[in-house]
């Protein structure tokens, strides 16, 4: 993949949520870390073309994700931080089939593939289940399956592992691996980034560090632990 941001800023209610972010992401597995409110989810939305940068340019595999929606949905998928912010349809199979049908598959075909995805995770019985009767972790898994079923080239995962349980997470990792998809993974869990190629550390809307995963993570962890030990939070208030 090739995700390129050039001087991207995003202003909301006169607050600079992101401020002059330039990135050129070409590695296969990229982590994004940063404190609460540092702008990680905003960055994810921008990369998927869901919000318009106040200034700057964003291209994913050469596509202007804000303008060219048709190609954007085929290229980049996003799993939102909160499963309830992602779910559109009343039943599980409709939810998973929706994205597939948007890629141009027929309704029948889309449902067929949705069922395949479900059975890949051992949840065939969920097909006609009303989503609101699932537990939160189960709903989170539905969101992940919906996006993976679309097989985008790049997938942006915003804290995807906070809902699913350990066996499901292991299963998800295997599945993601088999899909041959580039990942941009936002997380607070440093250990989830083991084996990643590169890590971007956001701090109050700006890039604080960006580089080889292990080095950035080491520095990030040290700084977070230092902050956590101090009891004077005043200067970090947002």
């Amino acid at each position: 993949m090739e995700t390129i941001l050039e001087g991207v800023s995003y202003v909301r209610d006169r607050k600079k949520v992101l401020d002059g972010v330039s990135l050129s992401l070409t590695d296969r597995r990229i982590g994004v870390v940063g404190r609460n409110g540092s702008g990680k989810s905003t960055l994810a939305r921008l990369i998927c073309g869901l919000i318009k940068p106040t200034s700057g340019k964003i291209r994913v595999n050469g596509i202007d994700v804000w303008r060219d929606r048709k190609n954007a949905v085929e290229t980049v998928g996003i799993v939102f931080q909160n499963p309830d912010h992602q779910i559109i349809f009343p039943t599980v199979s409709e939810e998973i089939a929706f994205g597939i049908s948007q890629l141009g598959h027929s309704k029948r075909d889309a449902r067929e593939r949705a069922l395949q995805t479900l059975s890949r995770f051992g949840h065939e019985t969920w097909a006609d289940r009303a989503i609101h009767t699932l537990s939160q972790g189960q709903r989170h898994l539905v969101c992940l399956m919906s996006v993976m079923a679309m097989r985008p080239a790049v997938i942006v995962l915003d804290e995807p592992f906070t809902g699913p349980d350990l066996p499901t997470i292991m299963q998800l990792h295997r599945h993601l691996h088999s899909l041959d998809v580039s990942q941009i993974l936002i997380t607070h869990d440093i250990s989830a980034l083991a084996g990643f190629d590169r890590v971007v550390w956001l701090d109050r809307g700006r890039i604080r560090r960006d580089g080889e995963a292990r080095a950035v993570l080491e520095e990030f962890r040290t700084e977070m632990e230092r902050l956590g030990r101090s009891d004077d939070f005043a200067d970090f208030a947002d």
């Binding site: 929606r69 912010h85 992602q86 559109i88 009343p90």
Partner: protein, 208 residues
């Protein structure tokens, strides 16, 4: 969500939805043209016959769906007795039972998708005057999701309230409920954008 389609199979299930609607419209229109008692008696005989043609069990089910109408028919009759116009009262009562009964029969014997298709065809002329219908199917799916979601948001809020308050939530809880609802709409529109390849600009199916 359950629809009001009958679980009991009838011969009418097989008829094209368009034809059934046409008959219904013609029947309703015709009956409002006259106030003769004999014409109304014939109409009610027709509607009863059509029901019985589908079997006793179906007729009973249909009659149960008409239950809410009965008490109010009693009032109509009483009113007309009081105003000394028993024939008039009978005519109105028969008219209501016959038209509602026949309409219910169409509803009960027609699948949702088929009915939707007929309505969509009927709406085509509206497309010419600027109403776009391509979002209709999506809109229906969204309503079916939002309706239980709103009720669930209500339950959630009551729980959130109860978890920190010794009192029962007051009616005031409708205010935060509307916020939750609006936030849901915003999120769903973002979620749609994330996986829908249609252009963001461009008009939806409502008049614009």
């Amino acid at each position: 969500m359950i629809s009001l389609t009958s679980p009991i199979e009838t011969p009418y299930h097989g008829l094209p939805a368009g034809q059934k609607l046409l008959v219904l419209c013609a029947f309703t229109f015709a009956i409002f043209l006259t106030s003769r008692l004999d014409a109304h008696l014939a109409a009610v005989a027709f509607v009863s016959g059509v029901h019985l043609g589908a079997g006793i069990r179906f007729t009973l089910l249909a009659a149960r769906r008409l239950l809410p109408v009965w008490p109010f028919l009693a009032v109509v009759i009483l009113w007309h007795i009081a105003t000394d116009d028993l024939v008039g009262g009978t005519v109105i009562s028969i008219r209501l039972v016959a038209t509602i009964g026949l309409a219910n029969l169409v509803t009960m014997t027609t699948r949702l998708d088929d009915l939707a298709d007929v309505f969509k065809t009927l709406l085509v002329p509206f497309e010419r005057i600027g109403i776009r219908l391509d979002g209709l199917e999506m809109a229906i799916a969204l309503v079916l999701r939002f309706t239980p979601l709103l009720l669930q948001r209500g339950t959630m809020l009551v729980e959130a309230w109860k978890s920190r308050s010794r009192r029962h939530p007051s009616w005031r809880i409708v205010f935060p409920l509307t916020l939750l609802a609006i936030d849901d709409a915003e999120r769903v529109s973002e979620a749609l954008q994330a996986r829908c390849r249609a252009e963001r600009e461009g008009r939806s199916w409502h008049v614009s």
